[in-house]
């Protein structure tokens, strides 16, 4: 193979939005059969580049070559027909339609009179699903599938054409470790067929596992390409954020604080059963398990969002029954939910208004909201959490993911909760901010908060927790202290093997 032979190559790409130069003279290529990881903090221009590659944006300057043939891409469909396929991070499926229809969306096979050729559709879809080792049929309705399986449908879309290059945008964000393996198998399979893979992820360990080369973007500019075997996380991180990152954490102390929350024999439908645990002031308790293992459901139940079928919740020695989120808040519980944009924030409201939302009823002088009181709270937690925002009036939707997450955390800290539950603290957040949030969680525990962290990322749960509870299919399989836990026994525990 000729080293200059590329599956997809862009040269000198410039893309300007009126206020921002999103991409400035970026060149990038992927060879047939390689995995080329694309890295950069949020806002570095990754998604713009990706959209340029997939025909969703037209660059102001620069050229695109597919298999060294110059190409002008007007639409995603055109890109796809030429062999460049983007697999979206956020699922873009029509839930009410069948798997087969989703795979061939936009190009359903036709018979006469615009009728769909169902026979061909199902046969073709079946063939693709088999290639991906999927255990569901083409006629299944997408709404009946789990998130991971939906992701597979998304991937299946890429295989409807003779792809030359496939772009994966954070494909593992909502996958469990097992499902991740299936995905990596698929990627290897594609590699073997000579397809070039562009792989975008924040997860270093994945990148170092599967990629051949790593390219880094910062502030819309190209910062260089490294051969994966020749580099390490530090070097990549430095390129990305322009400094090195302190990911080490202080020694794990076994907390001796009082038990704040104690939960006994909690059950909720078939979501989880007989769950018992306790969390002390000054510690971080980690919940680890596959998606759907019941971790989030426990958090939601504690927060009054689910009806418990049995069990006892004891807070500071007093048994309580939580009937609504409102009630949970009054009791001193706080939940930073897993989906920031859907559950955590009102994107159309200002930073300040979001932060004071849970306590707005108390922030009053007379019947009116006290403007000064609100701003005082906002300033305090902005400084405490180093939230970067031009001012309190800024709409929260305009902040970066990391700063948004800090607003959500700040919103609950301002309530001075007894227990802070954080579900997926760093989902979709870039590496720099990730470490910051991890440190923040540690500091909160050090300040005496009882913190519960739920995560699907093993490095995260390992680095942040004092104790770890492993869950499998709605039950607690094992509880680890920081000293006991290893990657191996944790994986076993959440796979039902221990």
């Amino acid at each position: 193979m000729n080293a200059f032979d590329t599956a997809l190559r862009v040269q000198g790409i410039v893309k300007t939005f009126p206020a921002v130069r999103a991409l400035d003279d970026v060149s990038f290529d992927v060879r047939p059969g390689e995995v080329h990881a694309l890295l950069g903090e949020n806002g570095a221009g990754k998604s713009t580049l990706m959209k340029v590659l997939a025909g969703m944006h037209r660059p102001d300057q620069g050229r695109i070559f597919i298999s060294e043939e110059p190409a002008i891409l007007h639409s995603p469909l055109e890109a796809k027909r030429l062999g460049v396929v983007l697999i979206h991070q956020e699922l873009s499926l029509a839930e009410q339609m069948s798997v087969a229809e989703n795979i061939f969306l936009g190009e359903l096979p036709r018979k006469n009179f615009g009728m769909v050729d169902w026979k061909k559709l199902y046969a073709d879809a079946e063939a693709i699903l088999q290639r991906l080792n999927c255990d569901f049929g083409p006629q299944t309705r997408v709404e009946d599938l789990s998130i991971a399986k939906k992701q597979m449908v998304e991937i299946a879309r890429a295989l409807t054409v003779e792809a030359k290059a496939v772009i994966f945008d954070e494909p593992t964000a909502s996958l469990t470790d097992q499902e991740k393996e299936v995905l990596f198998d698929v990627i290897r399979d594609l590699q073997a067929q000579g397809v070039g893979i562009v792989y975008i992820s924040h997860r270093m360990e994945e990148i170092f596992r599967i990629s051949n080369r790593i390219s880094v973007l910062r502030d819309g500019t190209y910062r260089g390409t490294l051969e994966t075997v020749d580099t390490n996380e530090d070097e990549v991180t430095r390129l990305m954020i322009g400094r090195s990152l302190d990911t080490s954490r202080g020694g794990k102390v076994v907390s001796t604080g009082p038990v704040v929350l104690k939960v006994e024999n909690l059950s909720c439908g078939d979501l989880f059963e007989n769950v018992s645990f306790s969390v002390q002031a000054g510690e971080v308790l980690g919940f680890y398990g596959l998606v759907g293992a019941g971790r989030t459901a426990i958090a939601e139940a504690l927060f009054g969002l689910r009806r418990l079928s049995q069990g006892k919740v004891v807070l500071n020695g007093q048994e309580i029954t939580i009937t609504s989120p409102r009630h949970a808040v009054e009791q001193g519980l706080a939940l930073v939910p897993e989906s920031r944009k859907e559950q955590g924030l009102v994107l159309g409201m200002s930073c300040r208004d979001n932060m004071t939302l849970p306590q707005i009823g108390n922030l009053t002088t007379g019947p009116f909201v006290s403007n000064g009181g609100e701003i005082a709270i906002f300033d305090r937690y902005r400084d405490l959490l180093s939230i970067k925002t031009p001012g309190w009036r800024q709409l929260v939707g305009n902040l970066s993911g990391g700063n948004q997450q800090k607003i959500v955390i700040g919103k609950w800290l301002a309530m001075r909760p007894k227990v802070l539950i954080v579900d997926e603290p760093t989902r979709g957040i870039d590496v720099g901010s990730k470490a910051e949030i991890h440190n923040l969680l540690r500091e909160l525990a050090a300040d005496g908060y009882a913190v519960i962290v739920i995560s699907s990322e093993m490095p995260e749960i390992l680095s942040v927790s004092d104790r770890i509870i492993a869950m499998y299919r709605g039950e607690i399989t094992r509880e680890f202290t920081a000293d006991e836990v290893t990657e191996d026994n944790l994986v076993q525990a959440i796979s039902g093997l221990s």
Binding site: Q96, G106, G114, L305
Partner: protein
Amino acid sequence: MSIMNKSSAARLWRQVVRHPIWFFVLVIFIFFSLATDHFFAFHNFQNILVQTSTIGLIALGMTLVMINGNIDLSVGATLALAASLAVDIQGWPVFESWGDWAMLPAVIAALASGIMLGALNGIIVWKTGVNAFIVTLGAMLGVRGLVFIYTQEQSFYAMNFAYSDFGSSAVGPLPTLAVIFLVFTVITHFLLARTVHGRNTYAVGGNRDAAVNAGIRVGPHMVVNFMIVGFFAALAGVTLSTQMGASTPNLGRDYELWTITAVVLGGTKLTGGAGNIIGTLGGVLAIGILRNGMNLMQVPAFYVLVILGTILIAVLFLDKQVNRKEDGELRV
């Protein structure tokens, strides 16, 4: 052969189960059959079909638009405009020598007006990105204004009785208007369930971004559906005017509300992405049977309003209870 029948019967049953509104139709059907003498009669069923055909035709198009995640509030006014055109144009002196054929250009003009208004709504929704509810709310007022300007507040009368004879004619045992309605119901069902355009309708309503990324031209697609609902509103205007042999500028007021009601009763989601013609047919029949049955039972008009309103809310409530997933639902 019998096996075939069995499986198709089973399929039919599955369809019925998937559309709770049909249970409701069944219940009120039995109720009125027992409660009033005149309900259970073939001739009455013919009446119900003709009476529901107006709302029914519009509802067919509305289903497409609503699955798309849009809505069309201007259908009542469009219906009035089409009816006025159909009745007025056939009386134009130009067509005097055409005899019964004068109806042809009139009907074509009427249908074309509906399609064009639909296209206008669609293009505005597409190009401006303004919510379809707002666009068509404006059109609902504006098109009604056009009707009044065109008619100068007058009713039109079809001098040729052949026009209204068509409205009361029959094909075999079924009234022609009912046949038109049923034929279009079948066609629209196939359009939605079997054709590429129909499937794309779900895609656009279910996940617009996905549809865009998949290369479906969402804008023109929506315009086509607005044209379809415009066509059906105009067709309903024509069929309604054949029943009257006349048109009035006030025709079709509130029809948009009843049409939307029927479509929603039929299980189409206001948020788009879900719904189908079988459900819509059930929704239309439910309202038609209720009105007809209450007429026959002589329920006073004041109470009919209360009963219809209450039933609408009750059905919505029951539908929500039936379709609620057992667990897994957050209490938000």
